[in-house]
Symmetry: C2
Subunit: 274 residues, 2 copies
């Protein structure tokens, strides 16, 4: 069994002693879940649990302005929540069990927008976006809650936008990892042009997986849509984890199995490639 | 696969956001190594590596007055180093991979004395002492280096001492876990009466394993003695880890195998039960 060392400084009496942690190397990929505006970490609990069962260390968080800190919501900015996402990422990779070369970020709506920006600030190997939101670059430090009116978002989200004209699309264009984009077929908040903008911007991604939940709304209000999204996400992560070990015959077999499962899962009515 | 949750507070911008780490439960026993007076963590590196290969998270440390902080040695007290041991223990069990119900402490000489005291302050399931030192309770805050003269230790270490008359022996008497004591057969620093005092004091231990390295000196200056000690320690830890899962048939077989190995290892000239 491979062994891994980590040098420590252990605080004691206002000083520090040197230590070495010597542990069997059983590192696993890390997966960070970023909820949407108005969401919270609990929504991702069951999904994170399924992903953990694949052998991943998952971290869900409540970003500022949500759950316990909901009273602060009116003043929270994109910058605040991007800092939250960075702090969460750094906390996750600090875990001894997490392989910091293998981090996935999974974001819904506003969390998908933040996840995309995060790829320019930290290494992200796998990026899963469900109904990723889009905002104008202006008013960066304005309260997020005011952007809808301030930026006339419903109109902006009907436009075709070049990757060079938006910070998130620019990040998407620079991204070289694997991408999953899941669209809701009946999404009044994030209409199809936004998804198209993202999909086109990810032209340099190592792989792109694009799925549509046909009848689903933005919030996945029906349990069957949430279930379908979880299935897509779990199959995609299974394939990604298997894919990173392509040199190994057993893993290749697992990868093929995973792909078969994915094909099977893509068949039901609620999930179809568009 | 069982999944484990840990609630986190993640600091960001002088505040904190709530997070939940959701990870496959692959916890393992933790093993803390405490070196002797004048020693350092490097001495335990190869040994800790062998123990880690059994599936344990090991922590070695340089206590104050040793390695990088050797210049401070003249002023270091037993209290200082006991605090070091406590800080190291707390750091080890804080690791997500460590099962805090399953901690072993392994101490040599002065480190064995501190390890014994540690059992009264923190849960220690398994305690391994090689040539454990003994001091009078008086002068607790005097520099450790002065104790030899101050306490006339060579004379004290020839005495038979009741468990009630010494803090470390009292700790030994209260200890309910499993104990390994390894004596050096030709030890001028820790003569046989000290070992006898410890052995008798451990009357309430769940199990006692006592071995003698026949020709070895206190410092195990010959590599073959160090190797023999490592073999005894590794076999003992193997048996302890297997023993905690006695309900499980596979582990029972492993336990039997471990015991066979231990019997075999006890045969060579340099290792004999006395």
């Amino acid at each position: 069994m491979p062994i891994r060392d980590e040098l420590l400084e252990i605080p004691v009496d206002g000083r520090a002693i040197a230590g070495t942690l010597i542990v069997p190397d059983a590192r696993m990929p890390g997966v960070l879940f970023l909820h949407g505006w108005g969401g919270n970490q609990k929504q991702h609990g069951p999904r994170a649990r399924e992903v953990a069962a694949l052998g991943c260390a998952c971290l869900t968080v409540d970003m500022r302005g949500h759950a316990m800190t909901e009273p602060d919501r009116p003043s929270v900015t994109r910058e605040d929540n991007l800092q939250d996402a960075l702090a969460a990422y750094d906390r996750l990779v600090r875990e001894f069990v997490v392989n910091d070369d293998e981090v996935a970020v999974v974001g819904s709506s506003y969390g998908g927008y933040l996840a995309t920006l995060l790829t320019t600030l930290r290494p992200v190997k796998w990026l899963a976006l469900r109904a990723p939101a889009l905002y104008r670059d202006s008013d960066w430090n304005a309260p997020k809650q005011k952007l809808r009116k301030l930026q006339d978002l419903p109109a902006y989200r009907r436009e075709r936008i070049a990757a060079t004209d938006n910070r998130a699309l620019c990040a998407a264009n620079a991204y070289r990892g694997d991408v999953l984009i899941v669209e809701s077929g009946r999404d009044d908040t994030i209409p199809h042009p936004v998804i198209e903008n993202y999909r086109d911007a990810f032209g340099n991604a190592r792989s792109l997986t694009y799925r549509v939940l046909d009848d689903a709304d933005h919030a996945l209000s029906d349990p069957s849509w949430r279930h379908a999204y979880t299935t897509i996400l779990v199959n995609w992560i299974t394939e990604m984890i298997a894919g990173k070990r392509t040199g190994d015959a057993t893993s290749q077999r697992r990868r093929q199995d995973a792909m078969k499962t994915q094909q099977a899962a893509a068949s039901p009515e609620s999930v179809a490639a568009r």
